[in-house]
Amino acid sequence: MESFWEILGEAFGLILAWDSDLIEIIGLSLRVTLTAVAISCVIGLPLGAAVGAFRFPGRAAAIVVLNALMGLPPVVVGLIAYLMLSAAGPLGPLGLLYTPAAMIIAQTILVTPIVAALSRQVVEDYYREYAEQFDSLGVGPLDRVAALLWDARYSLLTVALAGFGRAVAEVGAVIIVGGNINHVTRVMTTTIALETSKGNLELALALGVVLLAIAVAVNGAAMTLRASAVRMAYV
């Protein structure tokens, strides 16, 4: 086995070579995960905010369920999505199996509970400060959710990042519903799995370093955004 530095060098070599296959794979990874995170936020943020801000019967149970669903194993999510999208399944006629759309669906199922559970916590903390003032101003429930989501936007950015991190690093879900088909549904993580199964461990590790670099870049960008937010007391 090569040394760590050799593998690091190989990773840089891959990036610098700008290999078209690699670029395609990275592009698909980002497209699938970013889309899934975006959809998860559209569903999960208002859901989490509503559970965080409002009192309703069964609220405690809802919170427990949301938190528990954060621990859904990706491979189980993949199985569930496969059973839904399979030709033998209820959504079979849509013909989504083995396409990037199926991967987006699977990752959305995976990430939405994370976004909902974490945003619930964030919004609940923010809401404590505002509840009385909202009552006084006569703010309706929808406006409250909207105001809280906007107010907590930088903390919620961290929530979205958590979802992104989970999705971009998982392989279990996308490999079952995507099929790891070359040039169609092959992403970073499934490529790493493939190269590992072919015994090309150094290449797999180098790809892992590339994936890590992408994750670092995304998080770094978010960090600088937050830094400016702190200065404006927007956090």
Binding site: I23, A88, G89, S197, L201
Partner: protein, 272 residues
């Protein structure tokens, strides 16, 4: 400012994906990881596409999963190497008919140290008996795949009860060929593997082919068209074109022409 960042990220995600694969015709073939990993498909499928314009999308999973997927109608063609399972597939009405398409052979690979002293043997049953007697580490796929079924049949012939030894010198990984080989290499254990996978495997780590050439090590691949009557979404016309091509002189020649390190990995034997 915040809005702009979000939009930029979204745009980047979509743009980075590159041009969408706008293909007119494609079929899905359910096959095995060992076939995929050998690189055979990368060699022959472009030839098929050039001839017919049909893109073949290969879903490479374990044999059992490939058959299961096809039985759900999630593939147009099934190409695995487990004759009895393939025939059962057809008998249950999931497939129209099963054809021999190619074969290769299995080999037993093991550590250079060769604790069971089986190197050079041309009798796999005797070799396995030796491994069992020496209680030398042996890693099995344990996943009901074609390779696994062949392996179990050989142990049976050798009269060894591997189920009883599981967890001891006999380790079942429940994984694909690649993962199993990685483990075998890591543990210094013997592994039964098809030659094509072994030749193209990148982590040999000092292991060598120790047993080969036994007629019982034949590994037959079969191709089956999924039954459109049972699964109406199957693209039977396009699928049939693929099956026909694979069995045709042209397809068989393509299979034969695939080499790794100058070595032919698959031997076409359609029609008998």
């Amino acid at each position: 400012m915040f809005r702009r960042i979000v939009l930029a990220l979204a745009a980047a995600g979509f743009i980075a994906s590159g041009p969408a694969a706008a293909v007119d015709k494609f079929i899905v073939v359910q096959s095995t990881t060992s076939t995929q990993n050998s690189g055979l498909y990368d060699h022959i499928l472009p030839l098929f596409r050039e001839k017919t314009g049909i893109e073949v999308r290969v879903v490479a999973v374990g044999t059992g999963q490939a058959i299961g997927n096809a039985a759900n109608g999630d593939g147009d063609v099934l190409l695995v190497h487990s004759k009895s399972a393939e025939e059962k597939f057809v008998a249950e009405g999931h497939g129209i008919a099963r054809f021999d398409v190619m074969y290769n052979d299995f080999v037993v690979v093991g550590p250079a140290a060769d604790p069971a002293r089986v190197a050079g043997s041309k009798d796999v049953v005797a070799a396995l008996t030796g491994i069992a007697r020496a209680k030398a580490l042996f890693v099995s796929r344990g996943d009901d795949s074609g390779t696994h079924k062949t392996e179990l049949a050989l142990w049976a012939e050798a009269g060894v009860d591997v189920a009883a030894a599981s967890g001891g010198w006999y380790r079942e990984t429940g994984s694909g060929m690649g993962a199993t080989l990685n483990m075998g290499a890591g543990m210094g254990a013997y592994v039964l593997v098809d030659r094509a996978t072994w030749t193209s495997f990148g982590n040999k780590s000092g292991h060598r082919v120790l047993v080969e050439g036994d007629p019982r090590l034949l590994n037959q691949y079969g191709i089956v068209l999924v039954n459109p009557e049972k699964h109406p979404n199957v693209l039977a016309g396009l699928g049939r074109q693929f099956v026909d091509w694979m069995l045709s002189e042209e397809g068989q020649a393509a299979i034969a022409s695939y080499r790794v390190d100058g070595r032919q990995l698959f031997f076409p034997n359609a029609g008998g």
